[in-house]
Amino acid sequence: MTELKVPSVAESITEVTLSKYLVKDGDYVELDQPVCELETDKASQEIPATIAGVVKFVAKEGEDLKIGAVICNIDESAAKPAETKAAEVKETKVEKKADVKKPAEVKQTTAPVEEKPKTEEKKEETKQSYAANTPSPAAEKILSEGDVKAKDVKSTTGVGGRITKEDAINAVRAKANMPQKEAFSRGERVEKMSRLRKTVSERLVYSKNSTAMLTTFNEVDMTAINQIRAKYGDAFKKKNEVSLGMMSFFAKACCLALEKFPSVNAYIEDGNIVYHDFCDISIAVSTPKGLVVPVIRNAESLSLAGIEKKVKELAIKGRDGQLTMDEMTGGTFTISNGGVFGSLMSTPIINPPQSAILGMHKVQDRAMVIDGKVEVRPMMYVALSYDHRIIDGKESVSFLVAVKDFLENPHKMLLGADPVELLIEI
């Protein structure tokens, strides 16, 4: 009997939540087959079996566990059940047979299948059965009454993808849990705060209470960047297999401005100020589970394409809950884009121990006075929330003006200053 324990996920993590088991109690698992999913403060992580055998649950789903606590036992002495194999062969065979006419060929096709198909393949084939999503008589009634279509139900217990009564009950319950507008309803719902949500709330309150936070605003004329994106967007995508978005420009502009104003890129630590020679830019990403803040390391040294690729990679990982602890720790400055949701203006909260955060917003055509004339320009409000303890007003405002200047005059980003001014050395 081998104990499967909560592994040490990261230095700062002492407790995790067992969010769900990926196998059933008593199931036979292969080595490295994911057994359960743990949710930590920042990420969720699948825990693979350390040995092949029969799983015996110890901890319950939803339970909070300390590092090193036993999740489940794996009985490696238990033989792999024969039925599993037989079932696999059978499933496969039915599938194969559909394509095969002569009985003689059936034998041939079934033979290689005996070589223990992978669990995943079996699942796949179960779904493909002609009876997949066929509800049992009781399930059919439950689905009708719950207004759930059989094709939308995930069969977890039925043979060949059939929908059992249990599947139907779960599907209808899942639908009922989705928020529904009901006239004059006074209903309430209590849900356990996820570990991620708890961490987010603690950190935000800590940030508000422990910093001298205030926000400065400015606005950016996006004409130049829009022109670049319109002109070079296709070529950029063709070359780099990633779209040329706004984030790369903002990250680059911030890196250049951070180099000019190092206190914006600094931490307060034990009465000292820690300055950074690098810019690790945290990007706030909204995921199905909540807000996560993965980090683009050494953004100052990356090309725009390099930044875009990293942003895309982190966003996908965040969406799929695949971000690791390492990818979310550190960061010297944060960019948050509320504009994607339509925000016109906001005061972002600093992500401690960082000292400042840039808020991007929605680009909107507005009437601007340019050289004494009213012109329509694509404008974005930008906000910089900063810790006044180490960043003075002059620095913060100048930082934001510098960001604005880089964005409105992208050619300055090439060398960190106006090329002409550099040339004539003024």
């Binding site: 059978k90 039915v94 002609y130 066929t134 009634k141």
Partner: protein, 467 residues
């Protein structure tokens, strides 16, 4: 203010089940029955009494024909026909009382009398001579069932020329029973009297008996019944029947127009059943009938008049007690806002002849006609240990499965216990099981059910284990 939420008209298996389900779902429910006893055709003059007589006659038949082989010798074997008929009566009575108890238990008011619609929310019930009471209800379920069909050129005197109703309460066993119609009712009642010693002649218009069943079943039944001595005149059109004293003469002609005459002491007219709506005053409620005189219903079994539903033999579909029962529960649940289903294709059909025949799903001739690619697995009971032990060797299980997916499309059984075995086919089909699914399930040995598994093995891969 209505007296009731739901009033069910007719207390057959459809009606009384509907009433119970309504009561369970919290409706204030009443049931109206024309006769003094509850249960309708099924309980009083159909399924139950016919099965009582079938079983009695089977016992006699076994004693006469099969006991000797088992080493049981009988002498002086005789039939007390009156006692047999009385027993039948007692069986019916117990069922009547059972239903009455269920009505009481579920607090359903039983109103005895003939119901007739006054408006769509009111019926008048003739409770005695000239006495009438009016009952209002939010909803009605019409479950008035069916009556034996008559032939226009034959007068049914109910003494010598009879219907199934009278055939179950005869005072004597017929000597020569002539049956018009080789359907399920005809061959079942024919079996009863044949076993009790009567000569039985069945005249059928078509070239086969029990025509709705799979052709294999129909052929096999014909073979067994003929072997037992029943006479069949297939492809014969009956032209008349006349009574002369204790003798009935039935005239018919064959395909070539040649006339024949058969003389017997009783003639049973079993040419089907027709929906029964006489005196129901449907016109007062505005309920429409279809061209065959059945009450028209929609997918919820509601008539064209909202709030009036109809179930069972009085609407379209197979005239089977269990079909009516499903519809009764369906309507009650639908009225309660639930969304039940009935899979009509999966309602089994049974003939209680000896051996029994039962089927569910598509039959082979339908699959052929519709161009469905199928495979067939047929396994004879004869090859089973259990069948050898009991001596009931006749018959087979036939499983029809889709050629590509192996999904079971139909199951047809003829043989001992077919009526009970068929349910495995129903369950399999409701879950869309493949033939291989069934052949991989453990079937107890030795039982008749093994034939089902073996037929599935044949349908899957032609790999029967015991043949």
């Amino acid at each position: 203010m209505s007296n009731y939420n739901v009033v069910v008209i007719g207390s057959g298996p459809g009606g009384y089940i509907a009433a119970i389900r309504c009561a369970q779902l919290g409706f204030k429910t009443a049931i109206v029955e024309k006769y003094d006893v509850l249960g309708g055709t099924c309980t009083n003059v159909g399924c139950i009494p016919s099965k009582a007589l079938l079983d009695s006659s089977e016992h006699y038949h076994n004693a006469e024909k099969a006991f000797a082989e088992h080493g049981i010798n009988t002498t002086g074997l005789s039939i007390d026909f009156k006692k047999m008929i009385d027993r039948r009566g007692n069986v019916v009575k117990q069922n009547n009382e059972g239903i009455a108890y269920l009505m009481k238990k579920n607090k359903i008011d039983v109103i005895t009398g003939t119901a007739s619609f006054v408006t769509k929310n009111k019926i008048s019930v003739a409770v005695g001579k000239g006495e009438k009471t009016e009952i209002e209800s939010d909803k009605f379920i019409i479950a008035t069932g069916s009556k034996p069909t008559k032939l226009p050129f034959i007068e049914i005197d109910k003494k010598r020329i009879i219907t199934s109703t009278e055939a179950l309460v005869l005072n004597e066993a017929p000597k020569h029973l002539i049956i018009i119609g080789g359907g399920v009712i005809g061959v079942e009642l024919g079996s009863v009297y044949q076993r009790l010693g009567a000569k039985v002649t069945v005249i059928e218009f078509l070239d086969k008996i029990v025509a709705t069943m799979d052709e294999d079943i129909s052929r096999e039944m014909l073979r067994f019944l003929r072997k037992d001595g029943m006479e069949f005149l297939l492809s014969h059109k009956v032209t008349g029947a006349v009574v002369n004293g204790n003798e009935v003469t039935v005239s018919a002609e064959n395909k070539n127009g040649e006339k024949i005459e058969i003389k017997g002491d009783y003639c049973l007219v079993a040419v089907g059943r027709a929906p029964y709506t006489t005196g129901l005053g449907l016109e007062n409620a505005g309920v429409k009938l279809d061209e065959k005189g059945r009450i028209e219903v929609d997918g919820n079994l509601q008539t064209n008049v909202p709030g009036i539903y109809a179930i069972g033999d009085v609407i379209k579909g197979a005239m089977l007690a269990h079909k009516a029962e499903e519809e009764g529960a369906f309507v009650a649940e639908t009225m309660a806002g639930q969304k039940p289903h009935i899979h009509y294709n999966m309602i089994p059909g049974v003939a209680y002849t000896w051996p029994e025949a039962a089927s569910v799903g598509a039959n082979e001739q339908d699959l052929k006609k519709n161009g469905v690619a199928y495979k067939s697995g047929k396994f004879p009971f004869r090859a089973l240990g259990r069948a050898r032990a009991s001596g009931d060797l006749d018959g087979f299980v036939k499983v029809l499965a889709a050629k590509d997916t192996d999904e079971i499309l139909g199951v047809h059984i003829v043989g001992a216990r077919a009526a009970d075995l068929i349910i495995e086919g129903v369950v399999a089909m409701e879950y869309r099981a493949s033939a291989e699914d069934i052949s991989r399930m453990s079937h107890p040995h030795p039982t008749y059910t093994e034939a089902f598994k073996e037929a599935c093995l044949i349908a899957t891969d032609n790999r029967a284990l015991n043949m």
